[in-house]
Symmetry: C2
Subunit: 558 residues, 2 copies
Amino acid sequence: MSGERLIYLPLGGAGEIGMNAYVYGYGKPGKERLMLVDLGVSFPDMDSSPGVDLILPDLTWLIERIDRLDGIVITHAHEDHIGALGHLWPLLKKPVYARKFTATIGRLKLEEAGLPLDTIRTIEPHPAAVEVGPFTVQFLPVSHSIPESSALVIDSPAGRILHTGDFKRDPTPIVGEGWNDALLEAIAAEKPVKAMMCDSTNVFSPHPGRSEATLAEPLTELIRGAGGMMVATTFASNVARLKTLAEAARAADRSICVLGRAMKRMITAAEETRVLTGFPRIITAEEALEVPRRNLMLIVTGSQGERRAASAALSRGKYLGFEMKAGDMFLFSSKTIPGNERGVIKLMNAYSEMGVDVVDDAGGKYHVSGHANRPDLEHMHRIFLPDMLVPMHGEHRHLREHVRIAHEAGIAGIVATNGMMVDLTGEVPKVAEHIEAGRIYLDGTAQIGALDGVVRDRIRLALNGLVMVTLILDEQSEPLGDAWVELMGLPQTGLGNRALDETMEAELTEFIETASGKILSDDDRLDEALKRIVRQVAMEEIGKKPEVRMVISRLTAE
Amino acid sequence: MSGERLIYLPLGGAGEIGMNAYVYGYGKPGKERLMLVDLGVSFPDMDSSPGVDLILPDLTWLIERIDRLDGIVITHAHEDHIGALGHLWPLLKKPVYARKFTATIGRLKLEEAGLPLDTIRTIEPHPAAVEVGPFTVQFLPVSHSIPESSALVIDSPAGRILHTGDFKRDPTPIVGEGWNDALLEAIAAEKPVKAMMCDSTNVFSPHPGRSEATLAEPLTELIRGAGGMMVATTFASNVARLKTLAEAARAADRSICVLGRAMKRMITAAEETRVLTGFPRIITAEEALEVPRRNLMLIVTGSQGERRAASAALSRGKYLGFEMKAGDMFLFSSKTIPGNERGVIKLMNAYSEMGVDVVDDAGGKYHVSGHANRPDLEHMHRIFLPDMLVPMHGEHRHLREHVRIAHEAGIAGIVATNGMMVDLTGEVPKVAEHIEAGRIYLDGTAQIGALDGVVRDRIRLALNGLVMVTLILDEQSEPLGDAWVELMGLPQTGLGNRALDETMEAELTEFIETASGKILSDDDRLDEALKRIVRQVAMEEIGKKPEVRMVISRLTAE
């Protein structure tokens, strides 16, 4: 053994869907040169991260070893792979490598963050290659639900890694390079693959995936049959779907208008980079307002029911002059990501109340997934026959199932979740170390640790409501006036319709009037005693234990 | 025209799934005698009702006309049909009519609430009948996912109503009466049905529903094939499923232990009322701990990922001495109700981390729905051929689709949502009036109106965090000490790692020191000015606008 080792360390994306960030390293233990693949975000939800704007991977481990980091490679331009670039690049300040379209989206993010654009270097796909420290990286075109998604062929002195990125097996993806078994087989024949890091999103889907091209016919038929205005939504970055929708609209003699900044930006970037050509003419909102409803198709953002997207704006009434009404049709050419159901259903019902016909993907006719299903994953395994499989891009259950499938095919596999450093040097993957891999909340402009307690306090406020008590004492610890209670997020009245704050104030006052000087002069004991009274009154009056915040002010002589 | 009319007024359950409460009335306008059908709850969620325990229908309209209410009829014992009984009966104090099993569950609820049990009268099914004011009501057995679900045949002087309740068409439901077309046809032949109020839950499911009996074989096969301990969850009230699971376990030579209070209670009630017979022997938890894992099956509550249920307790580690481990299997013999995905997925991943194999209903083999699918709804329409169809038990989109189907079959239909009073007297349904139909939140022991702002404040606290400012002034409006800032649910530091509270205090102090006596002596203006400063500092430092609560204390001379 040379003493060098090849390591893999997911800092995000392994054990969750989202926030992808994978570290590769090669060198002597503790001195490996490092490369980061992807730098994505996750999205918050009210249950676990209320008020948060975005969730970022915690890069502390990497930042502590920043002199060993040689570069950042981005596989594709989905938010869960590139979304953290503008927020976290300033902590890394290393070159970023990506293909043309991805680089364009990346530069838009850097521009918004006021960062230097030349930090991103555009890399041509295979057979071109780029050196990142000890690694030689080739971008291998794969199909996915965004243009130019790439698997990475990563050559290291310890062998070849195939990092699939997000992919599906689609020979006719409408936009971008079709899936090419022959190319993959030729690459597989070049040299053995030591380890395959593989997308696991759809490992539970038992049937082979369907091509983007299968959608054209049913979509055209649906849109042809629609009477009034047609509105369709899909993921903003699914440029192929946007094209399919637009062409179907043209075939149905409808003009196309796009609403939503993210979507317009994607189309522009795809056209500028010549990834997208022949997109039907898009008319402006002003022009669209002059077109008869029967001849209009709006393509809008907000397939996941996002409250600020165009779909939601239309569900609330007039938006940019457009107003949906009876006889119109709204199409979700998308799937609902688990956890977003409530928002999507809310939209559907709002449209239903307007008399709009809502069509979703229930029958599987108007959407195909961008990820490889189980048979396609198995196909990928067979092409490359890696020594070991390390599933990524999945929750724990996906990773575990993916390893199970690999084992069935005689391939060594390991469930490596965020923070598990895996040594790939030997015959089988070995866990080398566990490091702290957490999440950072982007909250407004602040970045806060997920475990800092800030969000925990918000959740407590939301669940329990808040009682604020203020009390003023003089320098002899004599109360100046009564305790003052303010309620937030709590019923105003308790038993017998008594005002809850007054009941609390009465109990507090009674206590303070009879409390000993010892207690009144001891902030901690006083705080504790008053809190106990507030909680007790709350339990009696409203059957609930609220959060309590005490402000005890002690006035001193001037 | 006689001057009398027949009315229908949903107070819950129409335009939502949950919280069923439907009023029927007959008599001169404004003097109708009234009957309430069902009194259910809805469940809160973090997005829209954080901290709330249960959601109840707002019965204000009914309570204002309480002298005209003759009784309450309960179709079946699901929480969304009977769950509000203990909470709202004291506002109504009228006789409750239900079949045996439902009555038993209802009495348990009244008992918990300390209410008189004899308020519930047990009614035998068709052909028995009960008079409720001007209505004659027969309980018509239908199949559903709980024993003794009943449609109601409601005869009034203005004609017959068929209120389907929740139902599916299942000739072999394992527990309770099988679906009987002949009986329904005989009833349909007796006299015409003026209006059918019909379950709409599964109107978007295009295939005929499957019988509960189809599950026995795949479940037995699955459980036979399991290696370690087997754990299965389903809805606590699905007594038929519990029996199927238990019998499958016995066939696989496993002893059965039930964990979860709700489930035990349902089995006991079903056995006591002789609805359930021949249930395999259930062993206690203590006995179960002595049984080899290979010979044990736990049936547990918590199919929706509820945090306090047995399934969740097991996912967190040891529970009542049981601990899941690698080689065990966990089965969701249930569907995930939209909105509960996050909780269920969290469970699945927790089990996956333990090495437990998780089986869910993805393939449709281990669960069947309790509601009639579209073809079964159409079958029901054809049997009774009502003059008009009024869909219920559905969100707006379900009701609308159901009306569309009725129209296709030549039946007049109307989308009547909560608060819409429909006059059924004429040939076609007519909206007679819109009344306020809202929701009441049960919060601890308090009942608060959904629009009271309490929950809105909680949501704001969770999204925005809170800044509390206290300031003490003397009787000349001179500040005594500086303003004091407390943060809750906000980052502790802003730009350049400065303490956020101190930055705010400094800005507030600067303002106060230079403020005119005019401002300092005017609570409203002072409050406004200080709030503006806090928000401005927050925007600058953390890019966020928090909630702000001011407590300005003015000390007066003794």
